[in-house]
Symmetry: C2
Subunit: 335 residues, 2 copies
DNA sequence: CTGTTAGCGCCTTCAG
DNA sequence: CTGAAGGCGCTAACAG
């Protein structure tokens, strides 16, 4: 690994001059610049990130903290982040948070100037302490998929989404509508909890009853969804439609139903949430939210904050949209 | 941000001593250690990664270079990497490679000691030049999902997988078997190309014909798969079974078939490749490969290489397995 | 056992 | 416009 002084020596100039051409300072004559550049190219020299970072006081990397990086939607968000970051020449450190316990320490240690130049929180629902810890953090932080007080956030109106999905089914004529699958795995209000609230409000507004059996709760895992679906279909009065908290659930629900001879949408309408890429090809009705865009937008705002005012707070609500496909239809026997 | 000398001063010791307790050197008296530790805790001090890295000559981070990070399988591999890395206290820099053009430069700049302590290549198929560039790289590199000469690699026998899938269908009695979707998007041999080779060999061994129409080629995108499926079903002699190059294709194929009234598996058997988590719940027959494990194993080997001999080369072939579910069955009209 | 000091490679004044 | 020198925070070698 050759160093800046190797280059300086070889070019017959001082290290300061090399540093200047490296950082595109105008204070270098064209002739000198050309010579240095030639040497750099010839030696295949690249400045040390470590040394540069130590000297400038900022690591040239972004950090993304992701909760449950097991979902397709997290992947989409990540892609948006990566694309925008790399456009600006930033790589990104990925940190997966699984248990809520150690979450605080991990984030505190990662979101520091000697680790990264900025942080992205993806689907993180921190408790109040964690939020206040992040407020005025040394490096700017943007929350994606979660509106956090005092922290720049990209988010959608999950409650409205849950309501839209439910109203779509109500408009089709459904009255027995179930909700699968909410889980309170954290302190704050999770997106799925908000969607469920929207579902409940829509049902109430339409004067429709929600039996306790109709709202399924549990961790977001396929087997749980599967079981929930079967419980629903085993009821004396099974629902004619299901609002799924996410497309990944909807897919399993539809499959589980069909596996026992319950046809979709003839016997059971299913609507998802997210509009994953595959939803279109599976003909899944859903509430679309801009996943990729949320990541891209978040990264863009973060980069902006880094350059301008790291302490300012920006809120950005992304639009959602009802997408009607072939997994939802009027209930059997309706006119 | 307090520094090591702040701590030293506060504790009434030299920076060397603080450094020693930081690095768990035995050359510190228990009393001194306790005092320093107390101060560290009190000041909430954390050593600078940047400074430490510069001093030790190695960044405390791993780097993962992923090709087309859009697939669920890439995500699984990534999870394996992250879990193992974080166990050992490493974070990982994620770098997505989309175009093959700039790939070389990007990798060369990223896989250096001032950027990371080790690199993981995920589903990368570099050309010969790139491979030789990586051989004897300054930081150790492990290839996941691709056996590269001179580079430690985790891989499966894709050709055998393609053969197994095809033989499964042949054993069920199928004779008209198609293959969807291969694409040569790189210099080296892609996994899907190898699977297709296995498919062809199995067909040839069974004395079965493979019409040109039966092998579909194109970029790995859902719309392409959809079109390929419809072309297949529009044939005068449509196949009774399809070998899909990946589960993500298989899902689209099955859906596309059912959408036009072709039932799976009664009218069309479909077998995938990967065994994504959702495959089980969709009842998809498939060739299972250990995705998560490939990432975990790769990371483990990399960490090992970093500690022991960075230049040694380790090959590790992971097992694959035929998983029979409800998307494959004997062809219509067979006894 | 512990304090001191010399780098690690780069950026950034400060003179010239 | 350019060279020299100090400093970023930490580790490691060297005296004590």
């Amino acid at each position: 690994m050759s160093t800046i002084s190797d280059v300086a020596e070889r070019a017959g100039v001082g290290v300061g001059t090399v540093s200047r051409v490296l950082n595109e300072s105008p204070l270098v004559s064209d002739r000198t610049r050309a010579r240095v550049l030639a040497i750099i190219d010839e030696m295949n020299y690249r400045p040390s990130f470590l040394a540069r970072g130590l000297s400038t006081g900022t690591a040239g990397v972004l950090a993304a903290v992701v909760q449950r990086m097991t979902t397709p939607s997290a992947l989409q968000r990540l892609r948006g982040i990566l694309d925008v970051a790399s456009e600006s020449g930033f790589d990104v450190i990925l940190h997966n948070v699984s248990s809520v316990d150690d979450y605080r320490d991990q984030v505190r240690d990662l979101l520091r100037p000697d680790r990264c130049a900025g942080g992205l929180l993806v689907s993180i629902q921190p408790d109040d302490d964690a939020v206040s810890m992040l407020t005025g953090n040394a490096v700017p932080v943007v929350s994606i998929d979660g509106q956090l007080p005092g922290i720049s956030s990209i988010y959608i109106d999950d409650e409205r989404g849950g309501r839209m999905a439910t109203e779509h089914l109500i408009e089709l004529g459904h009255e027995r509508i179930a909700f699968v699958l909410d889980w309170e795995d954290s302190i704050g209000f999770s997106p799925t909890a908000k969607r469920r609230t929207g579902y409940r409000k829509a049902m109430a507004d339409a004067g429709l009853e929600v039996p306790d059996d109709y709202v399924k709760v549990g961790p977001h895992q396929h087997p749980v969804t599967l079981a929930a679906t079967n419980e629903l279909l085993d009821l004396d009065e099974p629902p004619t439609a299901v609002v799924a908290a996410a497309d990944s659930h909807a897919m399993v629900i539809a499959q589980a139903a069909q596996a026992r001879g319950v046809r979709v949408p003839e016997d059971l309408s299913v609507i998802g949430f997210d509009d994953l890429e595959i939803a279109e090809h599976l003909g899944l009705s859903t509430i679309r939210q801009p996943l990729y865009e949320s990541g891209a937008r978040g990264a863009r705002i973060l980069l902006d904050l880094m350059q301008t005012d790291p302490r300012s707070v920006i809120y950005d609500e992304l639009p959602i949209e009802m997408v009607s496909r072939s997994s939802s239809a009027p209930p059997r026997g309706s006119r």
